[in-house]
Symmetry: C3
């Protein structure tokens, strides 16, 4: 049982994909859900879905930890052909999950109360991102 979720992005931000994923697994019963992002400059996260400031603060923190390649602190970077946000995007994608595995019981993901699933876009320009999904039924 496989599908691909598409998510349009408009710059560096977290895009919640919990709902389409939850709807896909609802009729599937018990099993294991796997999500894998098919890109190297965006990430998959499970993070808090309550206070939107959490998402804003995550963006702010990682923008400082890995600034634009134009920042003097990153003057040693060589991969610059695709713009000053590209190599930092690869670095952030290295520090965050590329795949997530989520147990499912009775068609419901076993997420905690405050957990949502997000695509974290690390590039500035709009992109259409793909997340490969797999469900193995128990």
């Amino acid at each position: 049982m496989q599908t691909i979720f598409e998510q349009r992005t408009q710059g560096q931000a977290l895009y919640e994909i919990t709902r389409p994923v939850a709807e896909w697994v609802r009729p599937l019963g018990d099993g294991l859900l796997t999500l894998m992002i098919r890109h190297t400059s965006a990430s998959l996260l499970i993070q808090e879905n309550a206070d939107p400031d959490v998402q804003r603060d995550l963006i702010s923190y990682f923008a400082r930890l890995v600034p634009s390649a134009n920042d003097p602190s990153l003057n040693y970077l060589r991969h610059r052909d695709e713009g000053p946000d590209d190599m930092p995007a690869h670095i952030k994608a290295t520090m965050m999950p590329v795949s997530l595995s989520i147990p499912v019981a009775n068609g419901a993901m076993r997420l905690g109360t405050w957990q949502g699933i997000y695509l974290f876009e690390h590039r500035n320009a709009p992109h259409t991102r793909q997340v490969a999904a797999h469900f193995s039924r128990d």
Copy 2:
């Protein structure tokens, strides 16, 4: 085949959960074990189980990389209602695994010699943490 492991925590530290997990999979034969933490301010790690200084050094390093929100370097953070250790906990949880997938052969996890499974608590106050576990038999 699913269960939930509970782990009581007392502040920022690594709590080893290798033993209860190993006991759960022992009668299950060959397959794939999945663990997923049901929280956004704690992480799951596979790390060295030999020298306890490794755990102490991990805590020290990440406490400096992502200090308390009261630290002047993080004065831009907005999510402060749940205490100065909460937003840094979300940041650390973003940089470390939320789920782990471990092949199992003859009821034994295929961990390396020095690998143990840990829950890394990022909050200061005591918590009861839940880890959802799933086993798919070959």
Copy 3:
């Protein structure tokens, strides 16, 4: 369906393992591939396989974020018996994936166009690294 891939490493670098993994899954049809590294001082990554400068820049960035334990900024580290590159290796292994889950359709991993699978060696001395692989057929 399980196997173990071995990869010889010669210092801190990314070693691509896409080809042997792709060959192993090719006859297996539809299902879920899981890879898990059996070490705590090396990581598994999915990263760009086009411009080799991306790999060089990743090594450069993380060598600065987590320098040698001889660097004054890390003078608080205690675990030093195995050399100044060992504790930094554990720290990097904490920030990067230990396991990867990849959907497979018709014997082909559902990787994106520019995605390759890499073992990121964090130690300086040569090592033989093991990656445990599991395939669950749909």
